[in-house]
Chain length 287, copies 2
């Protein structure tokens, strides 16, 4: 297991962590000031400053990417299917322009939440079938672009509206059926917030292995959690056994960035440099 | 599948659903007025009026019980273990006095939340081992009392502080290792709120079968859910495919009550008779 205590070369900042404090250019500047080596930006943040400007800012700051957030939101009704496919192709193009190592997929929940306006359904099994179908269709385009797709299982509390893929096993089943050759073009993003509770977590990480582990995200689970979306904790402030999970991920062959992704009204209310310095300190001591 | 549309003989009211509107005696009266045939009371509500008075009120109203809530909260440090076992034995005694068909177990999360004052831990695997160990110890006492124990898997968002058993499969694994003979003394309580998202839900229900399915709880999952604890929905107001799940439960052999358990600031703010009439109407149309 790599020693993170002496520097923060393996730290990446998911730019949602400080999204309230400034636009993508301000975040890139702040990361450069803190000598952070990598980020993972969101599409809306890129769009707000313009793709070309975002590409230049990242390059000029000497930053790497640990991923690009996000493609997905696959379940839709028939009327919205082509729009959904086109939207995801654009996400792949943007990820390519930015030099991301993978496009993270938040797969979507029931169609009425995944692609608003779609006919309402309570059939989560059908939504899951639509996800697998769309990933199968998108994979060819991603391959031609050389852009790996990383399915991110989301916590079951998001099953209805954000992602109906809720465990690593489920994500790997999709990988295995869609990409049986384990080409490296399809894998998972493992975010501790979503999977820490899973009794099959360590088995899932082992099964994923180096070929399927495309991204690793950290934060913490707070007790109490006051909001389903915006109350994630800073590493060390919650109950997740972060070092054990990273040990497992690295034992399975992962050697990439540890990406901090915290959606939190609390951390969004603090100065950006303070947040980044706290990320660095906790990355050294707790991750 | 039984036809619920013409009467509400299989409806039970978990008394937490109207806990803000009155004490247990007031709830028993209101259920009698609404010709509801069964309830599932909570220990603190019984304690508030006194066990003897609760037993008499239930009997005089001609009510059956569909369960008793709740034993559990097993993980603790060594100092609090005997207190935890004694507490659970008292729960079994109370359930017996009230004539409950089973004692529902909410197994507890990490020791510092399950039994406050216990040494803090982030080892959810160790907490799970403590749960299995405690159920094994308690089962003998429950058998002698003739009181079946029903392990209730709770939604993964409660894994840290309320229950580290989060799927039907996990609960059944404990059943199978602790009660390999499938004696009827140990099973599960299936609450749709906790398990609706699980890709292995239908496999789990089938595996449980008649012998392990001791209770069935209904409510609904709202989108958005504004609070992790107190924003459960009335049946029909959310996204859970209730009829499909009941069909599966009944196909597996369950023929008992459908128990409405809704923790909701919203429903707690309404008159008790209105809430019960809504439960009856939705039980007929949506469950």
């Amino acid at each position: 297991m790599r020693d993170f205590s002496r520097d923060h070369r393996w730290l990446s900042i998911n730019t949602a962590t400080v999204r309230a404090q400034g636009d993508l250019l301000a975040i890139v500047d702040a990361c450069a000031r803190a000598e952070i080596g990598a980020i993972s930006p969101w599409r809306d943040q890129v769009e707000a400053v313009g793709l070309d400007k975002a590409v230049r800012a990242v390059r000029d700051a000497g930053l790497k990417l640990s991923g690009y957030c996000r493609g997905g939101m696959f379940p839709s009704d028939t009327d919205r299917r082509q729009e959904m496919i086109d939207d995801n192709r654009r996400a792949i193009d943007e990820a390519t322009a930015l030099g991301a190592p993978c496009l993270v997929l938040v797969v979507g929940g029931l169609p009425q939440f995944s692609r608003p306006g779609s006919a309402a359904s309570k059939d989560i099994g059908a939504a899951r079938a639509l996800v697998e179908d769309a990933i199968g269709e998108l994979l060819g385009y991603a391959r031609r672009a050389g852009m790996p797709l990383a399915i991110e299982p989301l916590h079951p509390m998001y099953a209805a509206d954000r992602a109906c893929v809720n465990t690593i096993a489920q994500a790997l089943d999709i990988c295995d059926s869609t990409d049986p050759g384990c080409s490296g073009d399809l894998g998972i993003a493992c975010d501790v917030y979503h999977v820490w509770w899973d009794p099959a977590l360590f088995a899932g990480i082992k099964r994923a292995g180096r070929e399927r582990l495309l991204a690793y995200h950290v934060c913490d689970w707070l007790v109490p959690t006051r909001d389903l979306l915006l109350d994630r904790g800073m590493m060390g402030d919650g109950v997740i056994d972060l070092k054990s999970i990273r040990a497992a991920v690295e034992a399975a062959g992962y050697g990439g960035y540890s990406e901090v992704e915290i959606f939190s009204q609390d951390w969004w209310s603090r100065p950006i440099d303070d947040v980044l310095q706290t990320c660095i300190a906790r990355h050294r001591s707790c991750v």
